[in-house]
Point group: C2
Chain length 465, copies 2
Amino acid sequence: MNENYLQELQAIVGTEGFISSEESIDPFLQERRGLYRGHCSAVIRPGSTEEVSEVVKCCKKNNVPITPQSGNTGLCGGAVPQGGILINMGRMNRIRDFDPVNSTITAESGCVQFDLQAAARERELMMTLSCPAQKECQLGGNLSTNLGGLNVLRYGNTRDLVLGLEVVLPSGEIWHGLRGLRKDNAGYDLKHLFIGAEGTLGIITAATLKLFPFPKTRLTAIVAMAEVEDLMEVFIGTREHFADNLVGFEIIPRIAVEMVLQYDDNICEPFPSRHNWYGLIELNATNQGLDLKTPMTDFLRTFPHDSKIAANESESDALWAIRHAIPEAQKIRGASIKHDVSLPINKMSTFLTEAAKQVKARLPGILVCSFGHAGDGNVHFNLTQPEKMENQEFNNLHQEFNRIVHDLVHQMNGSIAAEHGVGQLKYEELRKYTDPVEYEMMRMIKRTFDPQNLFNPGKVIKLDG
Amino acid sequence: MNENYLQELQAIVGTEGFISSEESIDPFLQERRGLYRGHCSAVIRPGSTEEVSEVVKCCKKNNVPITPQSGNTGLCGGAVPQGGILINMGRMNRIRDFDPVNSTITAESGCVQFDLQAAARERELMMTLSCPAQKECQLGGNLSTNLGGLNVLRYGNTRDLVLGLEVVLPSGEIWHGLRGLRKDNAGYDLKHLFIGAEGTLGIITAATLKLFPFPKTRLTAIVAMAEVEDLMEVFIGTREHFADNLVGFEIIPRIAVEMVLQYDDNICEPFPSRHNWYGLIELNATNQGLDLKTPMTDFLRTFPHDSKIAANESESDALWAIRHAIPEAQKIRGASIKHDVSLPINKMSTFLTEAAKQVKARLPGILVCSFGHAGDGNVHFNLTQPEKMENQEFNNLHQEFNRIVHDLVHQMNGSIAAEHGVGQLKYEELRKYTDPVEYEMMRMIKRTFDPQNLFNPGKVIKLDG
């Protein structure tokens, strides 16, 4: 490797975009969750797509690996470099176009999710990407991991919102694919290859996203059940009766409510009695004055257990606060082994029951805190260490628990990577569970687009073995 | 080419699946619209995915081109063979799985669209693919052209409905990708490569599609305007006020209404006075008893022109009959040159006005019958011959009119292939209008998946030139 490439790179992006001192590089090398820490020769922060293209050409010539990074809020080590350079997209944060008639926004990869939400809201429109990291995560990462988040039932995953992309390819060429069309069948659909590819096939520099009318009303309800099967029945009913307005259906187990109550004094018990399972229902409506409350009251009355509807915005927020506090509460409670998995809806409750049984059999005293977007078939099946076990001893079991959980997911035709990506965390797991024909297609695509294997090597797709 | 391959193929599919007499092959060689007529050595009608796989392996070994075909209702010559064999999917018409809890159907490519609609409806669910050819077109073609159709605003294009695919690859291997998950980021998303690829990358043998609750109520309205700009304003307002329920917004010009009235006695003038443009609005709702009529009445009152709301199902159908009769009425009226294009919504009215001006300048007396899914940004910009011109003389101008229309679409960042596909019709056009970087990516993918160029050669993507 010719070390002069660093000088070449500095000449391309200028001092503003070039970081090479050990101290300044450091904050870019570590993932929040602390699972991964990487290394690289320099952090490059390009100011334009043309600069990204020049940087890529220089790396290609010098055979330097590239790790793309935007908000660095990922959970699977996808944006942690293993050598070479890191391209951080944070300086490319312009909204290039806002078109209320076409109902689209065109924004660069370094735009913070919350800023895009706010820009849309100013014009009575909704940018529907939304996740707990909204004030830090950036569009590039949302696109590259095909973020799910909180609004999937109503608006879809990130993939479903993208009408066009601009991408710097491993060749250094720029694909100018920023279209804003609802129908377009002019050849193969290439954008879906880059969405969710975690930067292994190129660097997404900008995207055109669909926007939606900002909802004029919302309704939040919570329902409690003894059995998760019954809770899933509530979901089926909600989907049947409120399909036009259903934004999300989240499940929360009792253990999660207890963890949250211990850690956060502002959070209250949802009901006077305790229940094994809670379901959080979110609806919205664009029609001003649409009465969601009467039909929801009637619907909830058909179930024998506790339920209530938030009377106003602040009660809605209080119910959602329980859900949002879970990851932090779980962190305080000790070490955890997490699984972001999805299943067909009809297998969700069987999976939850069976998986809990198997992990408890392996380690009595383990806490199973499985919560999340059950309406999307997506659950965060998270395991917390037993009270008297050492963190390290528990963490050492992570592969064994991965095996139990992922084997079961695989048997039930689910996915071991629902919405957090593959990155480094599931690099080997993906190889193990993917049908060989499918895995070989992925390899063929990777080799075709990135023959030097310079784009985010060691993430998502293994070329050998 | 080893002609013994026909015997090999017959041995694979049996006599039931093997058609080789000239007379019996004939019906498979021609497209309804009459633009294309092809030729092939045999029509193979496999009975299973395994048979498709064996047929492909045999063709690969003998270097025999393959044209996949399902309902053969396409409009761009995509399913018309240019030699080799034709694989017709019509015998593979089983519904493999129907899962009301997961709200999915898994069906083979030879299933007729209408049969899938009916199967879903029996269970109070909606299979949302719908187009005028619904009683003949088959799922394989719907997937391979990424059918748009009548429900796009509410439910999306075909692509948006697909959760999983089963595909026989050009290698003859079977990709078992029939998943039914709402969230799945386990590696690259491969299904979107095959959807809309018109069989050039493999043969889709089955798919898992999302279903939706069958709507409990619908509302159809028609509104008339002097200017198309004003009609698009009605669309913008409809989208803002009825986003939760908006299924479709179609535009119809006066000339289309006149053609339809001449040809079909059952169709009535929508209003006592004549208007230049009509907009057809379709809403539906899942909530039983939701009142769509009152807010729509209030909304339509804000516009000064004629408008009305269908009082019942049969009035709804009568309004839609105008729209559905257009293609046939236009056919009776003489030769036509058609353009299936899409534009950003904010450019729709400018495009319609400017394109009409340019084609009329080229040929005074030409009839511009531009109608369709304006709410999706998709219009069928169809030109009918002037009264006293010979058909052939008019048809000879098709390339010149394509140039005028497609140049304008291209300038306005639209697509020259919105929902009917590329096939043979736009094979050269796609090459001309696609950015070279993008076109080269498509070629790379084609070469990677189908290195012998046996899958539907001469369609969609040109490997040379």
